[in-house]
Amino acid sequence: MRIVFLVALLGGAVFYSYVAFIDLSFFNQRGRPGAGFFPRIVGVAMVVLVLWAMVDALRDRRAAATNGFHDGLGDTGSGWQDAAKLVLLALTYAVLLRIFGGFVSTIIYLGLALSVLNPGRHLQNALVAVIMPIVVYLLFDRLLNASMPPALIDLPF
């Protein structure tokens, strides 16, 4: 997984450097540091260091494979599963926010998330799923006068 993350980072670093060298000039017309001055330094440094970190990671992986070493707390499978569940639920919430707006999507999301993460406690989950959005609405919309996400579709509330 670490290698995959580093490869993604390397891709980002290479693209960042490419834009810095192609689109942005190192010096401006008056011979002073231009818009590309800093990005080029940052981009090149990032590419070099990510490559270096990849070499380290490959070496570590080879050593771990030889020693049968397990590299983390949650690497037992269930750790990744639980984190993935929460990430997926969070992404679902991001989509719901756009469609149903802040209040309704929070009720739906909390109901869904709690039924997955806290199964069997229906009353507790229902109470949290209803009370929390009301508290958040009162805090953000009424007390702080901050805007809640509006719904894409017309809702009666």
Partner: protein
């Protein structure tokens, strides 16, 4: 005398009913943030920053600062009662805090940690009151080369303290610097990495990234590491009636511990990158080496709890010095505080205290009051925090996602920023998982534009020569201090780690 008149002016600003309410809310929230394992002050500050937008700047800054130092108080309650530090700066408090609780002295331990935190915090604020104007005076001679070097110092010292790998720390900082370059270049007017998007013209906003990395990222990591399955563990019972209060002997035997912890903590706190965790571990280690009974440490010695507690609170005060006088945050939490200042159009730095005396001294004065409020809350609201510890993470998790999302949206009513926050959360999780440093990324994102501007100004002044950095006495001093810190900080870190490892091995 000037200091006293400034401080009284600050007190007159801080002591208004509404500001006191903000202070109380900040102190309570800070303690709650500290009590929740897996969430540090930086996460609490980032998540709650949007909530302060509708507020008056002085009240808002007072509240955010109270969240920052209040987290240090709260983190120890879990260290004592369930042997789980609420945040990294209270790790050392578990060494003797939990054994004290197991010996039936949970009440005295909780009260003494509150008193020690109060002493550390208050000594720290007294030292800020005396030293901040002096630092401000010295830094007035600084120009672009010095500012660039200071930004480098802040980033480098944080990176060498990361521990796992300096390479990953530097990469994290470089990602932050890269994100900081997005938007229109103010000097040339050229768009950088905007790809024609109107949303990116103003650059990548700091708040969604900080909330995503510290709020969601930490939450995903907590779920990955199984924190939601562990529950609150077994909470050591304590009685409010029987043997709740410490004895006179507890106070007498730890009076010099408090003095040493406060001074040491403050000094370490002033150093960018060192922070409260190192301060508390060092104070613990120092106290044990000075003790006539080092064998009692780790088995429920009151000095072993008091030393790290005074140090971590003094360190959190000390960290305000470089922030207020140089505009350089030394940690992720102070980076979020700096961002908060900037949101209100304020730029901490050498001229900050002379140009914004009401705000600067109002904040300092509020820290005296805040420590008093926290002392009272720490002692009398313990049952409330015990109830909060009992809230399972699997309920807390989805609630945190809601607050992060709605908080981010409330800043600019932008769905793009909200989605950016979710993306930063996922990236933050992988960064935590693979040993990168979200703190270095955030610090670089805040310092990056300042560093770039200072570097380009420096290059313009020197006509492209880097020799300017060694030609100016102030620059030379900063380079010297940075080199010294880069040599000594890992040593300090190793001393702290050794103290932690010794305690782990011992029990």
């Amino acid at each position: 005398m000037d200091i006293f008149s400034d401080l009284f002016m600050g007190l007159s600003i801080a002591i208004t009913p509404i500001n006191l309410v903000y202070l109380l809310i900040g102190a309570m929230v800070g303690m709650i943030v500290g009590v929740i394992p897996g969430f540090g002050p930086s996460a609490g500050l980032a998540i709650l920053l949007p909530v302060t937008f509708g507020m008056d700047p002085i009240g808002a800054i007072m509240m955010l600062a109270a969240i920052y130092y209040g987290a240090m108080y709260g983190g120890t309650i879990t260290s004592i009662l369930i042997n789980t530090p609420g945040e990294s700066a209270t790790v050392a408090s578990t060494f003797d805090g939990f054994p004290l609780a197991k010996k039936g002295r949970a009440g005295p331990a909780l009260v003494m940690q509150a008193v020690a935190s109060f002493v550390g915090g208050t000594v720290g604020v007294i030292l800020i009151t005396i030293l901040a104007p002096m630092f401000s005076q010295v830094s007035r001679s600084f120009g672009p080369p010095e500012y660039f070097l200071l930004a480098c110092m802040g980033l480098l010292t944080l990176i060498v303290m990361i521990g796992s790998s300096w390479k990953l720390g530097v990469i994290s900082a470089l990602i932050g610097l890269a994100l900081g370059t997005v938007g229109v270049d103010l000097e040339t007017g050229q768009g950088r990495y905007t790809f024609g998007s109107a949303e990116l013209i103003g650059g990548i906003y700091f708040i969604p990234i900080a909330i995503g990395l510290f709020g969601l990222g930490e939450l995903f990591y907590a779920f990955w590491s199984g924190l939601h399955n562990t529950g609150s563990g077994s909470i050591v019972q304590y009685s409010k009636e029987q043997r709740f209060w410490p004895t006179a002997q507890d106070f007498i035997s730890t009076k010099w511990t408090m003095v040493r912890g406060s001074v040491l903590g403050f000094v370490v706190g002033v150093i960018p990158g060192a922070g409260a965790t190192i301060a508390s571990l060092m104070a613990y280690s120092t106290e044990r080496s000075l003790s006539k009974h080092p064998e009692r440490f780790g088995k429920g010695e009151m000095a072993g709890l008091v030393a790290p507690e005074t140090a971590n609170n003094a360190a959190s005060s000390g960290a305000m010095i470089p922030l207020l006088t140089l505009g350089i945050p030394g940690s992720a939490s102070t980076a979020v505080l700096l961002a908060a200042f900037m949101l209100w159009g304020l730029r901490p730095g050498p001229l900050f205290m002379s140009q914004n005396p009401e705000l600067a001294w109002g904040l300092i004065a509020s820290m005296y009051l805040g420590n008093m409020v926290l002392l009272a809350i720490s002692i009398f609201a313990i049952p409330l925090f015990v109830q909060i510890i009992k809230v399972p993470y699997r309920i807390l998790g989805p609630a945190v996602v809601v607050i992060c999302a709605l908080g981010t949206f409330s800043v600019h009513a932008s769905f793009i920023e909200t989605y950016l926050m979710f993306a930063a959360g996922i990236v933050g999780f992988f960064m935590r998982r693979f040993g990168f440093s979200p703190a270095a990324l955030v610090l670089a994102l805040v310092l990056g534009p300042l560093a770039e501007e200072a570097l380009r100004q420096t290059m313009t002044i020197s006509r492209g020569s880097f020799a300017i950095f060694v030609q100016r006495p102030a620059s030379l001093w900063i380079i010297g201090i940075t080199i010294a810190l880069l040599v000594f900080l890992p040593i300090l870190g190793r001393i702290g780690s050794r103290a932690a490892n010794t305690e782990k091995a011992g029990g």
